[in-house]
């Protein structure tokens, strides 16, 4: 029974947040995580240099005044789609030889309600979660407050989760 519960929790975590179960066996140690730090650094540089983290670019996007953000998200999705297609087609494995698994996302109403709420937040703060980290890195220290609020928002969602419509 206890084990069943554990399995359910793990399943819930993965289906809610990822399309692909992350069960790498060798991911606890610091040196195994350095590669993700490096990908993150690269990603943060792109974020700042392409002004994805700019409040002004987000305002232009939601006022249809600039193609920039649409071009970025659109071409990122296109490259992502092609990559996933190739990975599936040729059954490409990880560098550790593990098979990549993709899991379907289940629809629930949270994607609509939560999506709208996030959309409100995105347009006000001019940032989704990734850019918040990058903005703090650029020296906008006050955004640490926004990040802290976002963490609090996540916590409150977890607290109220059972009572919210899904």
């Amino acid at each position: 029974m206890q084990q069943n519960k554990e399995t359910n929790k793990a399943f819930e975590l993965h289906t809610l947040d990822t399309t692909c179960v992350t069960e790498s066996t060798s991911n606890i140690k610091f040196k195994n995580n350095i590669k993700y730090l490096i990908v993150g650094i690269f990603f943060g540089i792109v974020f700042v240099k392409a002004e994805v983290v700019s409040w002004f670019r987000i305002q232009e996007m939601f006022r249809l005044q600039s193609f920039h953000m649409y071009g970025i998200i659109g071409s990122a999705v296109l490259i992502g789609m092609i990559s996933v297609y190739i990975i599936k087609k040729f059954k490409i494995k990880t560098i550790h030889g593990e098979t990549l698994e993709f899991h379907a996302k289940q629809f629930n109403k949270g994607q609509i309600y939560g999506g709208l709420i996030f959309g409100f937040g995105w347009a006000v703060t001019g940032a989704c979660p990734g850019p918040l980290f990058a903005q703090i890195g650029t020296g906008a220290t006050v955004i640490a407050v926004t990040l802290f609020s976002a963490i609090a928002g996540t916590w409150v969602y977890g607290y109220l989760r059972e009572k919210l419509p899904h």
Binding site: L13, D17, T18, C20, T22, Y36, L37, G40, I41, F43, G44, V46, F47, V48, K49, A50, V53, F56, I58, Q59, R63, Q65, Y70, I72, G74, A76, I79, G80, S83, T94, L100, E101, K105, N108, Q111, G114, I117, F118, G119, F120, G121, W122, V124, T125, C128, P129, G130, L132, F133, Q135, G137, T138, A140, V142, T146, F148, S149, A150, T154, Y159
Partner: protein, 187 residues
């Protein structure tokens, strides 16, 4: 070369580079691209408070915290070594609108006129930085992902729920930017 890198990067360079993060994370360690989960892992590690949603082995997901710490460092590197010395180029119509709200400083990626430590303690600053941040954290978790997890990773894997989520993000953004934000900025 460095001069070119210091200019703002066009969408057709940045978009594909962001898209390549999807296969990079998959191939490096079977990881699905997603950023908002990091906020959940921070809750689970710091204040789980017996809430079932935060009762899981967050250490297994620690890669995600390394990833977002990298994003933070990347931001610092870009601004210190590769910074564009010119003010941010903004659409004239947006500039005109923002001038009405007293936003005229384009030297930073965020509008320093309204986002600073002093304005944090005004109603406008509180709504934008504190309440806005809360909506981002609450909404992304309620939706089960953000722009990266749903719009980029989910759509790359052809997931209909991610398309629904992405459309909802955009509708929310349009309503806020065009109807509600002007009221907040007028405060």
């Amino acid at each position: 070369m460095l001069e070119i890198i210091k200019q703002p990067w066009p969408w057709y360079i940045a978009g594909p580079l962001i898209g390549l993060t999807v296969p990079a994370l998959l191939i490096l360690g079977n990881k699905s691209f997603g950023i908002s989960s990091s906020l959940r892992h921070i809750c689970a590690s710091c204040l789980p408070a017996n809430i079932p949603f935060f009762q899981y082995d967050w250490k297994k997901e620690v890669w995600n915290l390394f990833f977002v710490f990298g994003i933070f460092l990347g931001g610092a590197i870009a601004i210190n070594l590769l910074s564009n010395p010119n003010p941010i180029d903004v659409h004239p119509k947006l500039a005109e609108e923002l001038t009405e709200y007293g936003i005229t400083n384009y030297n930073n990626l965020i509008p320093l006129d309204i986002m600073n430590w002093q304005s944090l303690f005004t109603l406008k600053g509180f709504l934008i930085m504190v309440f806005g941040g809360f909506l981002v954290g609450f909404g992304t978790r309620y939706a089960g992902g953000c722009t990266s997890g749903h719009a980029i990773m989910g759509l790359s894997n052809l997931q209909l729920p991610s398309l629904i989520a992405t459309i909802s993000f955009m509708i929310g953004g349009f309503i806020m930017a065009n109807l509600l934000l002007p009221l907040i900025l007028s405060l």
